[in-house]
């Protein structure tokens, strides 16, 4: 087990992640679910980037002045998260487009009301 203040950044990220998960599962409004999903996503991004960091390091752009710093941070997680952010915004756009279609069909975006309408339809 490592020292607790060396991993407290991860705990902060986990707290954000729990909030995001709670918003996704608890709220019945679909737009709010998308917002929760974005929070969850950003928390995961922060976690990845925090793994790449080296204390006293610098950004992975090669310069001649590297002697002032001890090292470059790890570029590989940066690339992965860079692509993940853009994919994230495209999924968000697609989800919001689906919500608009749901609004057009059911005239509501509350999950509970949609379920009620479905049940009255069956009966």
């Amino acid at each position: 087990m490592t020292d607790w203040h060396a991993i407290i950044t991860y705990w902060a990220v986990i707290t954000l992640l729990v909030f995001g998960l709670y918003i996704v599962t608890a709220s019945s409004n679909l737009v709010k679910k998308i917002i929760g999903l974005n929070i969850f996503q950003a928390a995961v991004f922060v976690m990845y980037i925090s793994m790449a960091k080296i204390l006293n390091g610098t950004a992975p752009i090669i310069t001649d002045k590297i002697n002032e710093f001890s090292a470059y941070s790890n570029p590989l997680p940066h690339v992965l998260i860079l692509t993940a952010i853009v994919v994230g915004v495209s999924t968000t756009a697609l989800g919001l487009a689906l919500i608009v279609r749901i609004k057009q069909s059911y005239n509501t975006i509350e999950e509970t009301e949609i379920r009620q309408q479905e049940q009255t339809e069956k009966e």
Binding site: I61, L82, V86, V89, S90, A93, L96, A97, V100
Partner: protein, 140 residues
């Protein structure tokens, strides 16, 4: 937004600067932070500002929705086309060493071209998505 004269004039000044910054980010991406994704988003946001201030119809007079569809496909085509060209020049798919005489300049050229493809696709797709969301507002 016809009455907000300050907004209109300031955004008229700002839009070209934002576009110029997008191009800087696009082609300076291999020296500083930046690249195709960021440049595409910034370029799209310049036009989104145009939509917000001057209205959707006026922006669609400048860039039509169908033009954007063509550009979105063009970006992917540039990216995949570079891969095919490297295959024709004797290398593997997306192996940029064969694009120029020396491997280093070939790599540099390849990175620039595919970043351009990425930028075109991202900019046009995001603008296309925004057109459709903004069109909803006008209809309702």
């Amino acid at each position: 937004m016809k009455h907000h004269i300050i907004l209109r004039i300031v955004s008229k000044i700002l839009i070209p600067i934002i576009m110029l910054f997008a191009l800087y980010v696009q082609f300076h991406g291999d020296f500083g932070p930046g690249g195709g994704f960021q440049a595409g988003v910034i370029f799209a946001s310049a036009l989104i500002l145009h939509v917000l201030v001057f209205g959707l119809e006026n922006t669609q007079k400048v860039i039509k929705s169908t033009t954007l569809q063509i550009f979105a496909a063009l970006g992917v085509l540039i990216f995949a086309g570079v891969g095919v060209v490297t295959m024709l020049l004797g290398g593997e798919f997306l192996n940029y060493n064969y694009l120029a005489k020396s491997a280093v300049s070939g790599q540099h050229l390849g990175i620039l071209i595919i970043e351009l493809g990425v930028g075109i696709t991202v900019a046009s797709v995001i603008l296309l998505i925004f057109y459709h969301f903004a069109g909803l507002k006008a209809d309702d």
